[in-house]
């Protein structure tokens, strides 16, 4: 009856391919088609410019509170790019770039962020769950979806997103455990952006990496430079293939940084230094990817200007389109929809009461 070391043989990998200076590790460079590279780049620019415009709209009082994604574009696009339409995206709430990739319109995102349920507009041809606000609670849904796909003998996979803070939630542990036990085709994407509102990663966990938590559940975990889209892409490709071919789940930790506030209601200067933000700004995923594309001859200064001005026009049109749409919304009676498949009698009564109240006060269709 000795006291001895139990050797845990599994290791956690770290992957970086394109560093912050835009230098490439040729040996690790993934084979990505030109069209995919350019599409990834376009969505990265779109997500960046749109995020900036949303912040602008919020500051002008034209939309409500929203969570900016600036700095996390590579982590989202490099992973989501591997999903087919039938695969399942199970987002948290800071995945605008991934949502855009999946076909969600700019208009609907503006509309949602301005307090209209009409913005919960899930493309009919995409298996995407809606945004999930209670931290970590969506993780386990991906396991149910993935398990169901496997049960139906489909090779669909489920990919779920969450942040570093979510790894402290019970649902993270339960979700990873269930996924591994049932060998569900799930890819867990942790966007470790270092901050859960004011809580730094160092106080969230004593764990050296978040990726290593996968090992305890018996699944592979990999930590990647989340601001390096090539590394994210390569890691996610392996994970999605693993899931699709029936070899079970993977945890990918994308080490990234939230360059902006948690939401527009938050003031990050209360808890972090400008120096830290400055340090991470230099690791921005966008310029290094642009340098890579330029080095490959796929992008030029002129071409970039052209893409940016196209995108600015697209965003402007979306803002105008959304504002026009929102002006036409406003029947509060719609809020009774989608409670149950069939409306119970007392709800019909409550709805009728509100209709009467509104018609008496002459406020119908006018709630600002």
């Amino acid at each position: 009856m000795p006291r001895k070391k139990i050797t845990i043989s599994e290791k956690v990998e770290y992957l970086s391919i394109l560093n912050e200076k835009g230098q490439l590790d040729k040996k690790l460079e993934p084979d990505i088609g030109e069209d995919v590279l350019l599409k990834l780049h376009r969505f990265m620019v779109l997500a960046r410019k749109f995020d900036e415009r949303l912040l602008n709209l919020q500051r002008q009082g034209r939309i409500g509170t929203f969570p900016p994604i600036k700095g996390q574009e590579a982590a989202q696009l490099g992973t989501i790019a591997h999903l087919r339409a039938n695969d399942w995206m199970v987002p948290a709430f800071r995945e605008t770039a991934a949502e855009l990739w999946r076909g969600k319109s700019l208009e609907s995102i503006i509309i949602y962020n301005n307090g209209f349920a009409e913005g919960i507009d899930i493309p009919e041809d995409r298996n995407d769950l809606p945004i999930s606000v209670p931290v970590g609670s969506q993780i386990i849904h991906a396991v149910g979806l993935g398990w169901a796909a496997k049960y139906r003998q489909k090779d669909d996979v489920a990919m779920t997103f969450f942040g570093d803070g979510a790894t402290s939630e019970g649902d993270f542990h339960e979700g990873l455990n269930f996924a591994a036990v049932f060998q569900a085709p799930v890819v867990f994407v942790c966007q470790n952006n270092h901050w859960a509102i004011s809580m730094p990663l160092s106080k969230q966990t004593r764990s050296k990496t978040l990726a290593q938590k996968a090992l305890a559940y018996g699944m592979p975990g990999i930590q990647v430079d989340g601001n390096d889209i090539l590394a994210v892409f390569a890691a996610a490709q392996e994970a999605v293939q693993r899931a699709r071919s029936g070899d079970g789940p993977t945890l990918i930790e994308c080490v990234t940084y939230r360059l902006m506030m948690h939401t527009t209601a938050d003031d990050p200067r209360r808890y972090r230094t400008d120096e830290e933000v400055e340090k991470w700004s230099k690791r921005d995923p966008l310029p290094r990817f642009q340098k890579y594309l330029m080095d490959k001859g796929l992008l030029s200064g002129d071409k970039l200007n052209e893409i940016e001005s196209e995108i600015m026009e697209e965003i402007q049109a979306a803002v105008e389109g959304a504002e026009k749409q929102m002006a036409a919304f406003g029947d509060p009676m719609d809020m009774f929809d989608h409670a149950y498949a069939e409306m119970p009698p007392y709800l019909k009564e409550q709805k009728a009461d509100l209709a009467r109240e509104l018609s008496e006060s002459g406020e119908e269709g006018d709630h600002g």
């Binding site: 349920a117 009409e118 991906a142 149910g144 169901a148 049960y151 339960e174 269930f178 498949a341 119970p344």
Partner: protein
């Protein structure tokens, strides 16, 4: 037709629905090899295999969360939470997702799942095994909350719950599991969710209850007839939410007097909602204040004292007589 306990009747419902529809999946702790700690899922794994009957790791939130994912995919999961006292560990999955995915996706997805769980006192169980917290679920828009009162309606309601497009919390009284047998036909039988049942007509008083409390209620009704010559009308709610008050209102308009009985704590309990609806819709027909007979507003005591906690035949009888003799 065979005489079955509630456990056997529920098992029949599961077995027949699983046979009929391969999207019905049973999952939970000890539901497979062990057949469930109360044996409700007994034999299902032998007939349907371990891909239809999933023994899960011990994690209530994940059992429910996984069910939500399965349901969004298009399956009809029936998960078992071993005791309702443990269902608070999955409360957020029900409140945040099961009950509102239809709304949160604006109709794109819905959650046709059933959460079965034993509730209530009277079986001398450990702490956290005896409470009656249906009000939590009934207060959540988007959910349905069903509580059968005997083997036959348990079977019919469970079939309806499995087929329902919305999430259903299905409370099974432990005290009733093996308390008595009823004829349960082999042929399919369903009961509509959201419709209380008139068990007995009467002109003098309306007795409204559900679940395990139907038995002492019916006992009291018999005593009132035998000793007092009183004909009580008896309504079994069966569905706590969505609560359809029509039959309750009609009854009270006729009798002018009502008693509501449940073992859940009195304050903010389902009885409060029933009384409110009656006051709103039948106030001018009332001959007496409505009485509630309920659990006290305390944690249900350890089992040596639970008999004093649970509404008894005597307590129900006393309340009925009070209502009958009031001005």
């Amino acid at each position: 037709m065979a005489k079955k306990t509630m456990v056997q009747a529920l098992n029949l419902a599961l077995q027949q629905e699983m046979e009929k529809d391969d999207s019905v999946i049973v999952l939970g702790e000890d539901v497979g090899v062990d057949g469930g700690v109360f044996r409700v899922t007994d034999g299902l794994i032998d007939q349907f295999g371990d891909q239809r009957v999933l023994d899960t790791p011990l994690a209530e939130s994940a059992i429910v969360g996984m069910s939500i994912g399965m349901a969004a995919y298009g399956l009809k999961p029936v998960c078992e939470i071993q005791f309702s006292g443990f269902s608070y560990q999955n409360f957020h999955q029900i409140e945040n997702h099961a009950a509102r995915l239809r709304w949160r996706s604006q109709g794109r997805f819905h959650v046709p799942m059933v959460l079965r769980t034993p509730y209530g006192g009277g079986v001398r169980a450990l702490e956290h095994h005896s409470e009656s917290r249906e009000a939590y679920w009934a207060h959540t828009p988007g959910l349905k909350m069903v509580i059968p009162s005997g083997p036959r309606n348990a079977r019919s309601l469970l079939v309806s719950a499995i087929r329902d497009p919305d999430p259903v919390i299905f409370y099974e009284s432990k005290a009733l599991y093996r308390a008595f047998r009823e004829e349960v036909p082999d042929a399919e039988e369903t009961l509509p969710i959201g419709k209380p049942q008139l068990l007995k007509e009467g002109a003098d008083l309306t007795m409204i209850s559900y679940g395990a409390m139907m038995r002492p209620t019916l006992e009291a009704v018999g005593e009132l007839k035998d000793k007092d010559g009183i004909e009580a009308e008896v309504i079994d709610l069966l569905t706590i939410s969505p609560l359809d008050e029509e039959i309750l209102v009609q009854s009270v308009k006729k009798t002018g007097r009502a008693v509501v009985i449940h073992e859940a704590p009195r304050s903010f309990g389902p009885g409060a909602e029933v009384v409110s609806r009656l006051v709103e819709k039948a106030f001018y027909y009332l001959e007496a204040p409505i009485e509630r007979v309920a659990g006290f507003d305390i944690i249900i005591p350890s089992f040596s004292r639970e008999k004093a906690y649970l509404p008894s035949f005597e307590r129900i009888l006393r309340a009925a007589r009070k209502v009958l003799t009031a001005a």
